[in-house]
């Protein structure tokens, strides 16, 4: 179940159901949306390393852990079901699935 308040999706200030708000310091990493988001799929979970393998931009690669956090906060991606063994993986999140435009 998503931790995000659905009413805050697509706004400038996403928040969780328990009232925590999108950390401002993650905003600078939104600049990688156009590089990383196309690598995430709706139904085929991708791990951090899957996504890293598709990136040539060295800065995007270095900042990928923080981009993942930023994109998760904004509903662009979400965690796939936890695998029994292996690292966490991501699929497109509610905002991406709905096709709602997001800030570049």
């Amino acid at each position: 179940m998503s931790l995000l308040d659905p009413q805050s999706l697509g706004t400038d200030t996403p928040r969780t159901l328990d009232g925590r708000t999108y950390p401002d310091r993650l905003r600078e990493f939104e600049r990688y949306d156009h590089l990383v988001l196309p690598l995430v799929e709706a139904h085929r979970p991708k791990t951090f390393d899957d996504l890293a393998a598709g990136l040539d931009d060295r800065n995007a690669l270095a900042d990928l852990p923080v981009w993942l956090a930023s994109a998760e906060w904004r509903g662009l991606i979400e965690r796939a079901d936890e695998p029994s063994r292996g690292p966490r993986a991501y699929v497109l999140g509610p905002l991406s699935r709905a096709g709602i435009p997001h800030a570049a």
Partner: protein, 255 residues
């Protein structure tokens, strides 16, 4: 960069090994020898937890085609970020600092604390062979300078980093170290339970090493770091501090 291209960096056209400018992380898992001395069921538990931390939480640090080359031996893990183009030092070190922060968090959840060094310099890693001055420096940082369960940056690595960077903190003795708890504030999940788990791990270690002041002091440093971080960043009134009595050395009466 593909696996092939990363591998190709470390050999010339004739297949002869070469040194490449890299950011190199060298970490030592503390207490691993003791973990191997208990009953086999306990050893197996430690093995499963270690495997989970290094392959099953944030990422698989040993994925063969990874951008970050890794080697593990005994209680030591080495991770390298090649600098593929001039001016790429900041990105390589920044990326490795984040990898190290994730790794420290994952290991601490699995009850492993680490000490380490991060260097910048020439390095070779291929087919299980690791070599080079950056490795020697990272080892020196880990074994002689870090002292406490922290991962410190060598002078060249520190100088190459853009400031400010919240993933780094400066310690009172002049060393810059990886502020691994900081990344918890990025996560969508509530950070409080993770801080509580980290606190509980530290308190357990402080209790376990009450009779060995040399080791106890190392975990006291972790407790100081934990509390300083909690004080600085605040957690909305949640008390996740390491309690003072756990951090206080005790003296016995002469009786």
């Amino acid at each position: 960069m593909s696996q092939h291209r990363v591998d190709d960096l470390f050999v010339d056209r004739r297949g002869i090994p070469r040194l490449v400018q890299c950011a190199v992380l060298f970490i030592d898992l503390l207490g691993v020898r003791a973990m191997n001395r208990g009953p086999i069921s306990q050893v197996r538990h430690h093995l499963i937890e270690l495997d989970r931390a290094v392959t099953g939480r944030y990422r698989n640090y040993f994925r063969p085609e990874s951008e970050w080359r890794a080697a593990f031996f005994s209680d030591t893990l080495v991770l390298a970020a090649p600098i593929a183009e001039p001016g790429g030092e900041d990105a390589a070190i920044r990326g490795l600092v984040r990898q190290a922060a994730w790794l420290q968090l994952a290991l601490s959840w699995s009850d492993f604390f680490v000490r380490g060094g991060l260097s910048l310099g020439y390095f070779h890693i291929r087919d299980g062979l690791i070599f080079g001055p950056a490795l020697a420096e990272a080892y020196e940082l880990e074994s002689r300078r870090a002292i406490y369960p922290r991962v410190i940056l060598g002078p060249d690595a520190e100088a190459a980093m853009t400031r400010p960077n919240s993933h780094l903190l400066c310690d009172g003795d002049g060393w810059t170290f990886i502020n691994y708890l900081d990344s918890l504030f990025d996560d969508l999940e509530d950070p409080v339970p993770t801080f509580q788990l980290h606190r509980d791990r530290v308190v357990e270690r402080l209790g376990r090493h009450r009779d060995d002041k040399r080791v106890w002091e190392k975990y006291r440093w972790v407790a100081e770091y934990h509390n300083a971080f909690v004080d600085r960043d605040g957690l909305d009134g949640e008390d996740v501090h390491v309690p003072a009595d756990a951090m206080t050395w005790r003296f016995e009466p002469f009786a």
